[in-house]
Amino acid sequence: MKISVSVGRAPSWWLLGPGLVWMGLLFVVPLCLMFVISFAGRGTYGGIVWSFSLTNYLDLLHPLYARILGQSILLAAGTTLLCLTMGFPLAYYIARAAPRRQGIWLLLVMIPFWTNFLVRTYAWMFILRTEGLLNTVLLKLGVISSPSELLYSNTAVMIGLVYGYLPFMVLPLYVALERVDRTLVEAAWDLYATRWTVFRRIILPLAKPGVAAGCLLVFIPSLGAFLTPDLLGGARSMMIGNLIQHEFLVARDWPLGAAISCLLMLCVVGMMRWSLRAAKPLVPPESES
């Protein structure tokens, strides 16, 4: 038997109003504009020529763009994977800590947000520079004999991205893991499972929605990131976010920038579809009986 709780009548439609107007004006309209512009042409001095063509999209087939997109996807995927490997044990530990401790740990995970992201990224520049903190320490310790060029590389970008987005992985994982009943772990253990099997067969499948959400929250912003690759990757490591920024602000080719944005969005939507399927509740809704 299912008990349905309904307080009075169905909520009024006008509750949707404020959010709908806000999102409509500031999100849907610009999005449509961008989509339209992506089919327009570029004027000689950077203006938009209102004509319909697929030129911008055909331009994107150029190997250079494919390389940048491929590199961005690789960097974002690598970032996601690293965040997952580091975030999972951390989230599991927090979820299994005493309730009072959990709050403290979560606070610590979120502490980096107290400082501006730009400032924190500059800090990484100081650490990774050739004569920066990391190289100095490694040289003093004798781990390396000559300073390595860490800054302005894909490695530096990935370090920066992992650093920036790790909390976005930890939080949804924590929520999912915290909900996994610990007696299930005991039950599996009692049923002869080893610790590794308990993790693989019980904890991981039950945490799947959290894994999917975390991956999504890290992958999407990583894919579109432009600040981190700009500061830490320099000219050598261009990501698709930088390309868009470049087209809009430097090359003043809005139509091409819009086309790249649409392509990026397509990637993101594809990724979201996959992850929503993975995050589908494991337990189907109870049948009405």
């Binding site: 005991e186 039950a187 009692d190 049923l191 002869y192 039950l206 494991l282 109870e286």
Partner: protein, 367 residues
Amino acid sequence: MAEQPTSIDITSLVKRHGATLAVDHVSLTVQRGEFFSLLGPSGAGKSSVLRMIAGFEAPDEGTIRIEGRSMEGVPPNRRPVNLVFQSYALFPHLTVAENVSFGPRMQGVPQGEIASRVRASLDMVKLSSKEERLPSQLSGGEQQRVALARALVNRPAVLLLDEPLSALDQQLRQEMQVELKSIQERAGCTFVCVTHHQEEALTMSDRVAVMQQGRVLQIGCPQDVYESPNSIFVARFIGVSNELRGIVRRIEGKRAVLQAQDFPGEVQILLPDGTTLHEGNVATILLRPERLRLSTSAQSLSGEQSLAGSVEKVLYSGSDRRYLVRCGERLVWNVRVPNDESGRNGLQRGDAVHVRWQISDAVVLSE
């Protein structure tokens, strides 16, 4: 020397939680094929004992042997026991069949045998038609059966049950009591059950250990612990008990007189075998409500003892009536009279009555 087939042998088990003794030198043995219950209020340490048998907690002192093998340092996944959790702990993402086959698969049982074992154990709990369901699609009673099947499929030497019926409603609970017992007989394995529900323990168990504050107070068959409790705690915890405290006077052979403490009055008692009671000692007699008889006439049968009182409350519960009879200023007794006198209203509130009992029905406890 023919050795008794012992399933579990526990010797002076101790578990400390901080400064308190959760389990205080518990020793007990469980025979093979026995239905053994640990009964006690919450916090009595019975769950701790169960978790130590299962291997989830390590004892601070003492030993646990299962089928003659010491369990020291043996993790839960290598013990020949399976636990049925209070919350059932069914894996929500696995179907009934996958839940049940989990244990055998982990043990590396051959594929073909797993299928037949799963079928057999689902048959045993009458759930064969629901193999492909997910736990959330089952009722509470069905989930309970899956939990049982999931444990029994492993053919454990001992099945441990933690408050197995506490999540079920009254009706289902009584059905499952009978069913659990018959499943245990069919499976032929040792059951150790933790419960705070005395009726459950009495109905299902071959033997019961009554626990309080980490200690075992009494171990015996249900009849023993109910009819001859060895302490007031056991008497009060298992069923309702009427008590009369007094001073022992005039011992003559097996008989003596108990002079009530709270009011002028005395009753005859039978001293138990091997008693250490002397004249002047304080003793308490215990009487079960159904062993008492109410009458309005002063006439008593031979060997009957009585206390005079007045009916204070009548509680009608269908199959019987319970009377609360005030026999003294601080003494209210509970009398249960079967509802077999059809059409009669019985006694009314305020009626003067005599509460009577056979002298041999009173349990005499020394302090």
